[in-house]
């Protein structure tokens, strides 16, 4: 298998756990960024692309005070922080948001509570010090994910993921590093928020209403 095929195999393995750690171990230094890795993806994520991060859970933000929790970015050093690419058509955006809003039966219904936009390069440009020199701290991939609500449909093509490279050494501990990672992503990603009600001419607001009406409840 070529390097590209190996990258695609890793990023399309839906059973893969701790993707950030595995990706850094198998393909260090964001090696797979040079390829398009997602099934059905139109291209790798380019540096100048605008990306969106959406928050749904009340634990991640306080809508009364406008505070965003650092902990909201914890997935970046685990299985990856989901993002949507600006190039997504409205139909693709709707498909991603429907997945994000999907819940199991009898669970609290979800809504998109905040949307942030940022340029891919701001993530890729972030550096960390490791073994005495500067290194890239995060990788951005065009990873697509299987649909839960419509499992027979192909993955949404314009989904992506941010992975932390998990570069740290003593005396920094894993937990300290994770907090550093959360704080850095919080600074970059929350710098510019987008109005949920007007985003894509009210597309997300409409989907929020449909979610509250119970439209995105999974079959199992």
């Amino acid at each position: 298998m070529t390097s590209c095929e190996l990258c695609r195999a890793l990023f399309n393995d839906s059973n893969q756990k701790n993707l950030a750690a595995v990706a850094e171990q198998q393909f260090p230094n964001c090696h797979c960024e040079q390829f398009s890795v997602g099934e059905g993806s139109p291209s790798r994520v380019h540096d100048d692309e605008i990306l969106y991060r959406m928050l749904t859970d009340p634990i991640d933000l306080d809508q009364d005070t406008g505070q965003i929790a650092r902990e909201a970015f914890a997935q970046a050093y685990k299985d990856g922080l989901s993002i949507v690419r600006e190039r997504a058509t409205d139909a693709e955006m709707e498909a991603v948001v429907r997945e994000v809003l999907s819940v199991k039966p009898n669970k609290e219904r979800r809504t998109i509570r905040a949307i942030f936009e940022f340029r891919c390069l701001t993530i890729r440009d972030e550096r960390c010090v490791f073994q005495g020199s500067q290194h890239k701290a995060f990788c951005v991939y065009d990873q697509t994910v299987s649909r839960i609500l419509e499992p027979n449909e192909p993955p949404v093509a314009t989904h992506g993921t941010i992975l932390s490279r998990r570069l740290f050494e003593p005396p920094t501990t894993k937990r300290q590093f994770q907090s550093d990672c959360n704080d850095t992503l919080h600074r970059i990603i929350t710098a510019r928020s987008v109005d949920v009600t007007t985003f894509r001419n009210g597309l997300v607001a409409t989907l929020n209403a449909r979610s509250l009406a119970g439209e995105f409840i999974r079959a199992v």
Partner: protein, 192 residues
Amino acid sequence: MTSTAVQFYEQEPAATTGGRRRPISAGLAGLALLMNTATPAIDNSKTPTARPGIEQNKTSERRRRYRAPVEHGMARLKRFAKYKADWDSRGAAAPMSLAINAALRYLTFLQSWHPNPLATISRDGEAILEFDDNDAFSSIRFRDDHGLIVELYRRPKGSQQSLYEEGSARDASINEFIRDQLKLPTLPHDFV
């Protein structure tokens, strides 16, 4: 402010005399004495029917205002404490009750000069208090790992360097870090 004072004085006669008439046979000497004496001072805060004074009102309002973020944080944690495992339909753990209770208690130690806390939980069930002031970001994380473990973190704004400490709530190093680095209230001996 003025209307409060007026209300107070209007009420005073009724409150002090009960609306009863004084007997005419009180005696001229007594009457003369009363006419030449200043109105006796009444400590209105101690009378059972008195309303709170202006200063008292201001103090309670001030207290209410600075306690509001703390109470808001407590309300958030109490709401999250009811979450069951897989509350997010994506495999999140149920909140750890020991951690939630510790965070709830810690919130009560905060004073008006401390930064407003953002109270939350992690998807692993830990309780987290985040503090964002102008100079740095700090957090206190509580988790149940065969007993209460406290994680402390501080990172100055614009810096790649952070400070971190972790241990049992009884460890002296934990309180030293809270006091010296986070500048937040320390944990009492009976915290665990």
